[in-house]
Symmetry: C2
Subunit: 440 residues, 2 copies
Amino acid sequence: VSATPNQRRAPRIHLQSSEHDVRIEIVTIGNEVLSGRTLDTNFAFLARALEAASVPVGWHTTVGDGLDRIAEGLSRALERADAVVMTGGLGPTPDDMTRKAVATVLGRPLQLDEHVLAHVRERARSRRTGKLLPAIESQALVPRGAQMWPNPLGTAPGLLIVEKGKPVILLPGVPQEMEALATEHVVPYLRERTGLHVACFTLRTAGAYESLLHEKIASVPNGWPGASLAYLPSYFGVDLRVTVSGEDAAQVEAVAERAYEELRACVAPVIYAEGEHRIEEVVGEALAARGWRIAVAESCTGGLLAKRITDVGGSSAWFDAGFVTYANAVKVAELGVREADLAAHGAVSAPVAEQMAEGARRAAGAHVGVAITGVAGPAGGSEEKPVGTVFIAVVTPDVAAVRAFRFHGTRASIRERSAQMALDLARRAIQKLPLEAKLE
Amino acid sequence: VSATPNQRRAPRIHLQSSEHDVRIEIVTIGNEVLSGRTLDTNFAFLARALEAASVPVGWHTTVGDGLDRIAEGLSRALERADAVVMTGGLGPTPDDMTRKAVATVLGRPLQLDEHVLAHVRERARSRRTGKLLPAIESQALVPRGAQMWPNPLGTAPGLLIVEKGKPVILLPGVPQEMEALATEHVVPYLRERTGLHVACFTLRTAGAYESLLHEKIASVPNGWPGASLAYLPSYFGVDLRVTVSGEDAAQVEAVAERAYEELRACVAPVIYAEGEHRIEEVVGEALAARGWRIAVAESCTGGLLAKRITDVGGSSAWFDAGFVTYANAVKVAELGVREADLAAHGAVSAPVAEQMAEGARRAAGAHVGVAITGVAGPAGGSEEKPVGTVFIAVVTPDVAAVRAFRFHGTRASIRERSAQMALDLARRAIQKLPLEAKLE
């Protein structure tokens, strides 16, 4: 991470423009997605990449693997959309039906394409097996007139067919392959066919309910012509996302600038980041800015806090060590938690959280220590300390504090919220801000 | 986790049947989903819950927050589906348009419902603020004739409108609230209106490419009438999912039984679990069965391995401690890694992986130690040890081993694959299986 907090703040409003007007439908193909067993991260990636390039996605549809379902999905999409992007069903196995369905709907019979065959063979050879499996060659049968975008990571290439002026784009379903093809070819290609001036920005908040934010913001957005404000709640807090669009680039930009200042003024004390900046990145940058290093100790989050800090590339510059101390004996041996306090207050208590944070900091020789101890459930709750009771402690060269929370939800959501609030507390302590979020 | 491995294996085939034939369309509402910023976990949850109840989901569509878009989405869904479930847009803020759009399409004007109002008021009071915000009361305006399902976790209730015999169901977009309403009301309600005999099972594999699995399985599925086999690749390996459907319950069950035996025979050495059973659960059960406890040490995965082991409720019964040792000094101080080996072989090496596993085991007083050290990128690679180079070590009372991997992909995918292969290696060592997956 090279940017300082101030550099990150500068390009806060994302502004783009272009010439024509194209509205996209994305069609996901696959029983595994339709059954809910596989999350459709391909769609999310494509939609974000297209939005960032100001290409508006109008619809998203998911259909099963069957020939008829894929054909119906494409036919309906061609009725309303100006371009169609389909993902999935291009692989070598018999349940991969997309090329056949597209050939049927567009009346373009499948033909063996020598360029695609050469690409498929080359890609298959570079794999570890060294073997060329006959099924893989079937991927070179493509609808007549299809143009190929080579797949740098797999055997199924991206295909482009322009049918009566409408692009129909086929991409493999393997995420890395789809992402590489989308970034290199699909987004730039569709970018050239779009047109609207769009500006957008996101303010990310933690520690305040959606309804409280709404009360604070009230009717302020009524003064922003062409703008929409969305409240996006998640385990991480509530993101406030403003999108301004219109035909006049200067006005779009002016409205976005005003909206940005006014919205910030409403909710400043609970904003932890802007755009897609994550709180673990903010914490990393804050540590780097001070030249500090961090160590963490976790009980109920079981490694999630360390995992999130080290999700950030280059985090070895500010992260020293994490201690996942489930057993009480390990809390004593590794972190120096006092057995008397474990006995008197229990492992889920303010004194133990404080001693864990201090112990992690001392054991790793770090500047900052953060600790989480709590009851994530489903078992382990008591009347005094029900499931969701969590203590979070932070210690820096300037300050030491512990806060108590009572989270609701599942084991997974309690763990996620605990890690998020620990990161927010660390951020506040490192940046020398008030340790408690207060809107007023 | 109370089930032993053998108990888990028994209900391997999921078999269900019912009376009528209904095909569902799920419509997700929200710019934040259409923009790709929010993953549509609501859809995935609903689809899985409905599939488990043998209610076939035929289509999934995502539309933006606008009144026209929601109305168009509902109109199109009513054309082809027998029931429509819509999620999102029921909240108290002005971008929540679903009730209004549904009222327009169905010609059922919004009316204040006293029962819903009472529910909304009661739910709002139980929140921490104690305050009743006027916007929240707007949630009691519902399309004429709507029936309410109370929301146990929030203010927006689920709504059911039966329009010309077709159920239209509206659910809030907040995941926990949607999930509670779906489980308690929506699935049982739709379950009563469905009909097909369906049997399905999943075999989960790790360590073999999709194309190699396909070569081993070849034409075996041709002998399974009414069955489909899907290959579902992910960071965790390849899931093989078989679905058998038909009008004759006995035949469906017989085909599923045969398919199960034949598919297992093809790929037995790489199967780590069945159904939705996760490898961290398998590892936990294997440890519990032996009465063993585990400790882990991680470098490049930064806590992910400990996090996955402790994702399992009750894991304190077999998990003692995790050490996230990023800094070399911490590897030496906490795990007893020899400085000479760090100097001679580097932190990413087989000897250091072995010493980390042994050190974690010793420090925690556990039976099993597992360690990961590698280069997750994006920086830190060299010619000799490029990004993706990972060493994984395991030590148990019976065996000690270290394996070298070269993963491809992003920082996130390298970390996920590393944790998965560490769990698979641990599983094999604890269950006293061959440590290397070999298909032949």
